[in-house]
Each structure stands twice: as C-alpha cells, then as structure tokens.
Amino acid sequence: MKTMTAITEPVVEHEVPLTVIRPSRGWRSLDLREVWAYRELLYFLVWRDVKVRYKQTALGASWAIIQPFFTMVVFSLFFGRLAGVPSDGLPYPVFAFAALVPWTFFANGLTHSANSLVGSQNLIKKVYFPRLSIPVATVLAGAVDFALAFAVLLGMMLFYGITPTANVIWLPFLLLLALVTSMGVGLWFAALNVRYRDVQYIVPFLVQIWLFVTPIAYPSSMLDEPWRTLYALNPMAGVVEGFRWALLGGAAGAGEAPLSAPGPMLAVSTVAAIAIFVGGAFYFRRLERTFADVV
C-alpha cells in the first residue's frame, strides 16, 4: 500500500528530516516506524497512566486486586457452590481466578483505551504525535495491574498446592494474545468514540456481555467439538483456557486426565485476535486525520 500521508524521510547528507504534508485519502499505512520514533513519548504516556491511575484513591493499587478477587468470590459462591458449575476437576476459586486475571487485564484495557482519545482531546488538538500512542499506552499501562493480580493468583495456587506445569513458558504468548485483543477492540472503539460518544455507553455493556460469553465462570469443555474450537473465535476464550492449561494443567483432580492442550482453540483465537487488531489499527489510521477536527 502506498502511503499518502506525511512521510518522514531522513536525508543522509544533511541529517535534517524532510516532512511532506499533503492531504491523505482512503486507507493509510500503519506507519509503525513513526510510532517507534516516538517511543519515548509512548514510555511517558504509560508512565503517566501508571502514576496517575490510583492517585487520590484510599485503597490505591489494591484496586487492581480487589476487582478480580471479589468477582472470583461471587462466582465461587453462585456458580461454583449454588449452581454447581463444573470446573474441569480444579478447585472452583482458582479455576475462576486464573481466568479473571487475564480477563480483567483485557476488560480494563479495552474500557480505558476506548475512552483514551476523548480523554486526551486537549493533546490531540494542540500537538502532533502518532495518535496510536494514546490507546496503545493505555493498554500497556494495565500490565502493572496484571502483575499485581497475577501475584495473588500465584498465592492462591500455593494455597491450593497447585504447581504450574512446564507449559508456563506459553504465558507470555497468552498475555500478548490478550494484549493484542484488548488493543484491537480498543482501537476500533477509541476511533469511533471521537465521533460518536455513544461508544461510552456501548463499551461497559459490551464488556459485561463478553464476560459471560467467555469461559470464565464455566469451562469451555462443556461444549462438544467442533463447537468448542469455533468458540475460540472469541479470542478471550483461547486466552482464558490457555491460562488455565499453562498454570493449572497438572492439577486436575484425582482420577481425571490432566487438561489437554487447547491447541486448536489457541490457533483460532490467535487468528481472530490478529484480524481484530489489524482491522482496528487500519480503521484507526483511517479516521485519525479527522480526530483534531471532530473531537
């Protein structure tokens, strides 16, 4: 794709960059090189979000733990105890929490990034930088919350005497998958939010629905193939089952087979996540040129 937008070409003999500004039309390249050139800004935006997130809150960073933890408690009571939802032979609380940790990372990333452009409109109107930096920084800042909640998850595994399997080496990939999904959906909504503030009402609603169509309170093993694999078109289904498999896989109850690798699910989820992300990024770039005028 030929890029029609402002191009920065370093001219070697002068070492002075030449920028050409002209109207762009249609789809544009992602210009990730420019996002990279502005990586220091990205770093500072992440740093700001992390610093500011829990300022002037009484409980501070413990909010990162409270949110998923109490959801786990409620799920354990109502789904685990009362409804008797199966949990792949695992203790229900740790079964639910292993899913809620990546889920919370995804859901907060999505919510915050969807509102990020509108929240930064004073920046967008006053200074130039690759706009992708804003929603991307917002999602990245959620990694700190994830780390805190993840520490609690490890504590819970210790409590239940569950040792992780060698499959934990897949965790970075699974986290990346959650990140890509969160950013992908976030980019769509962040761009739409600039023009249609309806997004502010849609997103919480969407997150709520998405929570229940993701196997968090229940296992995806309740579905038969091929439906289970198709289910992974929801990338979070792959992420959540992947987390359980990598961390808790060896701990299935006595007499049950250890969790099998959700390979096909992960493959489907990866493809779906990449599709959402690439679509979101291009859509974002397409609307980007109108942000400063419309927001």
Partner: protein, 430 residues
C-alpha cells in the same frame, strides 16, 4: 530547496458547518437514517457530499528560508490558527502541499498535557516528551527550566496546588527550552501578567536572533514588529500580503482603518435615525492626512447629520472605549447648543496626539436634544486602530500599560550641596 525551511503551495482547509438536520418523524426513521449515516461514515468518512462547508484557508502559498522569523497576522477568523495547525501536523490540509525541512516544535498552548496530579518535576518530563524532547535532552536542561520557571521550592509539589502564574511559568519554561530547527508559536504570549509577558518576549527575542526558523502568530502587533523580519497577512483564509514586517503591518492597519473608521449614508431616506435627526456620516481622519494613526498623530472625529425639525437645539456626546471595554473619555460638542434651522450639520472634534495609548478603540455617539434628552444613540459607530510608534519604545515591546499614554514634560535637576538646582527639561518616555 536547500536553504528553504518551509515551502507551502496551494494549501487549503475546508471545514464542515454542522450538517443540516433532517426531520425524523419516528424513532424508527431516526434509527434507520442514523444507521445509514453511521455505516457510510464508518466506511467512507470524509468523502460524504456535504454542501455546508467553508474554506478556512484557501490557496495559501509561501516559502520560508532557514533562519527567517515569520509573523502571521490577520483578524479573528482569518485562518491563522488553522494554518498553524496544519504546519504542526495536528490537522491535515484539504488541498495543497507543504514541505518542511527540519524538526518542528510547535507551541500552540502553554502546558499542553500537564497532569494536575503529577508534580512539577514529573510534568517537566511528560510535557517535554509531548513536545518532542528526548529524556536525555530534558535531563540536560532540567535545571535551566526550573530556574526559568522560578518554582524551585515547589518542584516536587503536584501542579494542582500551583498558582495559575506558576503553572504558566512552568509551561512556558519547558517550551522555551525546546530546540527544534523550526519553531511554531501561537498566542502563548497573551497569557500571564506583564512581568511574565516581558520575560516570555525576551526569551522569544533571543530564540529569534539565535538563527532558528520561527513562525509566530500573535494579536500583539508590537511583538510581531519587534520579533519578525517578515510578515504574512491573512484575510478570510487567503494571503493578502507577504513581505517585510513594517510594510505588511502598515497595510493591515490601513485595511482595518478603511473598513471601519468611516461610515456614510448619502441618502436621508436610508440613513439611520428618526423624525428628528438622521446620521449622514461619521469618520476618523488623521490631521496629517496619513492613512494610519499612531500614538503621536493628532486626529479628528467628524460627524454629519441632518436636522429634520427646525429650531431644535441639538448637540453630540461621544464616548470612547478601549479594547478592554474601559471608557477612556466622554466629550460633548457644546454646553450651550443653539437653535438650528433644518438642514445638514457637521461637527468635528480634534483629538491631540500623544494622548491615547495604542490599541483598538470604539466609539459611541449620542445625539442630545436640549442637552438632556437622547434622541439618537449609536453603539460601536466607529472602530479604529491606534498604532504604536516604534521610536517611543525603550526596548520594551509588550503592551504599554495604562489607559492613556500622554507625553508629559519632565524636568531633571541635580541638587548640589548648596541646594542649588541645575538641570534640564526632558521629554518623558510615554
């Protein structure tokens, strides 16, 4: 274009003026139509057929050599801010092309991206990064920035506890230490108190003489005159004039003088007024016949009206306001109006030079009958500009303080031990 910093050709920017609202009779209609709109804007934003648009900029072309300091002037809505936004890549042009050689730093606002919960120190880094500085650069200039902002003791206090003055100082301090090859500055000097403005202008001056390419937009014509070697006059989105600063400023002052400093209604039938009196015309004239009025120029206020009722005792009362809305003076034409036959009357008031400060003035005219009864009243009848006179400035190019700017005689004496005074008369610095 080896020594060109900026080359703009045919730059235009079109904005939409709110879409004409279609009447929806039912919720279903509204939903259907907005779904269609949503869909069409999702798939093809930008290229919707929109009849309601206007051109904020049209066919703007100019070239700027490296090291030149360009001032952009024009009245409100002339397109100055739009041009700056395009130059700093905040928004895209609709037509045309601009080639820019060099790193661009744009400063359209003081303290962009400051976060109120963060401390001064943290905000320096954040703001610096937003303006395009690297962490290393910021660290290198950190002490200088803190010094310039004079916030030493509060550097680790969240900026939400800062006074507005401290906030502005910090914002400007970060921006002033930006060192791009091309600096784009908007109106930032219009904020803060006189001392702060003086400091900012001083810094701007040193940047301007430091060989950097600067594009500077300001309403403060004095600052433009002092800082810029060249000026671009925009009017309704087009370049009206481009050349040496003094020449362009003169043309600007003249165009404003022409458009509003005279009004006339040659026909009594269409002239504003009532059965008693109708206004034929009003104008402002420099005594020396020049096109512009500066702070030294004596000028005349001239009014012509038709007295329609014989033997009426009419007089005029004039109120002059400055651009802050402060009434500078009120004068009446006569204490004892005499009866006049019906017909045309001209009344002229002479205003001496070395009295009024520079700035924009507007005038209210009241026609009185028998000294007490207002029979006719015109608010904002005339608007005119009094330019500064560069000869009178002692190195200071901010707004001259004070409602008026009289040139008063001074005497400077040396008193020796015997109490004898020897000295000279001096002209003050107005």
């Amino acid at each position: 274009m080896s020594d060109l910093a900026i080359a703009a050709s045919g730059v235009g920017k079109r904005y939409r003026i709110g879409t004409a609202q279609v009447q929806h009779n039912t919720l279903r209609d509204a939903l259907a139509s907005s779904t269609r709109r949503l869909w069409s804007s999702m798939t093809s934003p930008g290229d919707r057929a929109e009849p309601d648009h206007f051109w904020a900029l049209q066919d703007v072309s100019f070239q700027l050599r490296q090291g030149e300091v360009l001032g952009i002037i024009g009245s409100n809505g002339a397109g100055k801010s739009t041009l700056l936004k395009i130059l700093s890549r905040i928004t895209e042009p609709t037509t045309g092309e601009i080639a820019i050689r060099g790193r661009v730093g744009s400063l359209l606002e003081v303290g962009t991206g400051f976060h109120s919960e963060l401390t001064g120190r943290e905000n320096i880094f954040l703001n610096g990064a937003i303006l395009g500085m690297t962490r290393q650069e910021i660290r290198g200039k950190f002490d200088e920035i803190v010094d310039f902002a004079e916030i030493d003791r509060f550097i680790d206090t969240p900026v939400k506890h800062y006074s507005s003055g401290m906030y502005l100082r910090l914002g400007f301090a970060v921006a002033a230490h930006l060192e791009p090859e091309i600096l784009i500055v908007d109106e930032v000097l219009a904020v803060g108190d006189a001392d702060f403005q003086r400091k900012c202008l001083g810094k701007m001056g040193s940047i301007a003489v430091g060989g950097r390419t600067v594009v500077f937009v300001s309403h403060n014509l004095d600052a433009v005159q002092a800082l810029c070697t060249r000026a671009l006059l925009l009017d309704e989105g087009r370049v009206l004039s481009d050349g040496p600063t003094h020449q362009v400023l003169e043309q600007y002052a003249k165009s404003r003088l022409d458009s509003v400093s005279r009004k006339s209604w040659p026909e009594p039938q269409s002239a504003p007024g009532n059965d008693t009196v109708r206004l034929k015309g009003a104008r402002i004239l420099a005594e020396d016949g020049a096109d512009t009025i500066d702070v030294r120029t004596p000028f005349r206020l001239e009014f012509e009206y038709w007295n329609l009722v014989p033997d009426t005792r009419l007089s005029l009362s004039v109120h002059v306001y400055n651009h802050h809305g402060v009434r500078i003076f009120n004068v009446g034409s006569t204490k004892e109006p005499t009866s006049q036959p019906a017909g045309l009357v001209r009344e002229t008031c002479s205003v001496p030079g070395d009295l009024m400060n520079s700035g924009t003035y507007h005038l209210e005219l009241i026609v009185l009958r028998d000294q007490t009864e207002a029979v006719l009243k015109f608010e904002d009848l005339l608007v005119w500009e009094i330019a500064d006179n560069p000869d009178l400035r002692a190195g200071w190019y901010g707004e001259w303080p004070g409602a008026v700017r009289p040139n008063l005689p001074w005497r400077i004496d040396r008193i020796d031990e015997d109490g004898e005074a020897t000295g000279r008369d001096a002209a003050g610095v107005p």
